[in-house]
């Protein structure tokens, strides 16, 4: 059972455009939703995260939109740049549990053309 579903699998955007990646989850116990960015040959790095008590969080060009009733959240990258080309993973966790076990989506390979 895939608890976090991510789409699209790949995305090509022109420089300056908006990149949108969507995720849906099933486990209502999830209460922390981070996005990780991974460059080839590197480990994932935290980009931005949100808790369900807010519907949106913005950090620079990156925004998370969260819809608790629909159990969906999305990452928007404004003014996309070639340096943003990477694989993006959404994730979810029940932070109130006895551990911090992240459940990741399958990833979206973003390519930003110059």
């Amino acid at each position: 059972q895939q608890q976090v579903k991510q789409s699209p699998q790949s995305l090509i955007v022109q420089k300056g455009g908006i990149s949108i990646i969507n995720c849906a989850y099933e486990n209502t116990a999830f209460d922390y939703f981070p996005w990780y960015q991974q460059f080839p040959g590197k480990g994932p790095a935290l980009l931005i995260a949100i808790r369900p008590d807010v519907s949106e969080k913005k950090e620079g060009r990156f925004t998370i939109s969260f819809n608790k009733s629909a159990k969906q959240f999305s990452l928007h990258i404004m003014d996309s740049q070639p340096g943003d080309s990477a694989t993006y993973f959404c994730a979810a966790v029940n932070s109130g549990g006895s551990n911090y076990k992240l459940t990741f989506g399958k990833g979206t390979l973003l390519t930003v053309n110059p």
Binding site: V4, Q6, Y32, P34, Y36, G41, K42, G43, P44, A45, L46, A49, F89, A91, S95, S98, N99, Y100, K101, L102, T103, F104, G105, K106, G107
Partner: protein, 114 residues
């Protein structure tokens, strides 16, 4: 070093051999995680340590996999009787403790079983 260090970065072995993968977390981080990332997939949780003890090993696929963290710092993931299906990137991550909101990943150890 300042980040999570994993060795070896690449390991090629033959089916049936024994393999050890090492993780040196960020100094002072009490929580340590192992994840496995197959090609085109998101990282999958294997095991979590809080200090020296394995607080959650529910992600280990079978009894051929074992991990230790004897002094609460460096961890070793051990795989016995390797199979071709074990081929993947094994990622280690650390964090300062529960509910800190961020895992710091190493660059991973790429294991190839021939």
């Amino acid at each position: 070093g300042a980040g999570v260090s994993q060795t070896p970065s690449n390991k090629v072995t033959e089916k049936g051999k024994y393999v050890e993968l090492r993780c040196d977390p960020i100094s002072g981080h009490t929580a340590l995680y192992w994840y496995r990332q197959s090609l085109g997939q998101g990282p999958e949780f294997l095991i979590y340590f809080q200090g020296t003890g394995a607080a959650d090993d529910s992600g280990l696929p079978n009894d051929r996999f074992f991990a230790v963290r004897p002094e609460g710092s460096v961890s070793t993931l051990k795989i016995q009787r390797t199979e071709r299906g074990d081929s993947a990137v094994y990622l280690c991550a650390s964090s300062a403790g529960l509910n800190t909101g961020e895992l710091f990943f190493g660059e991973g150890s790429r294991l190839t079983v021939l």
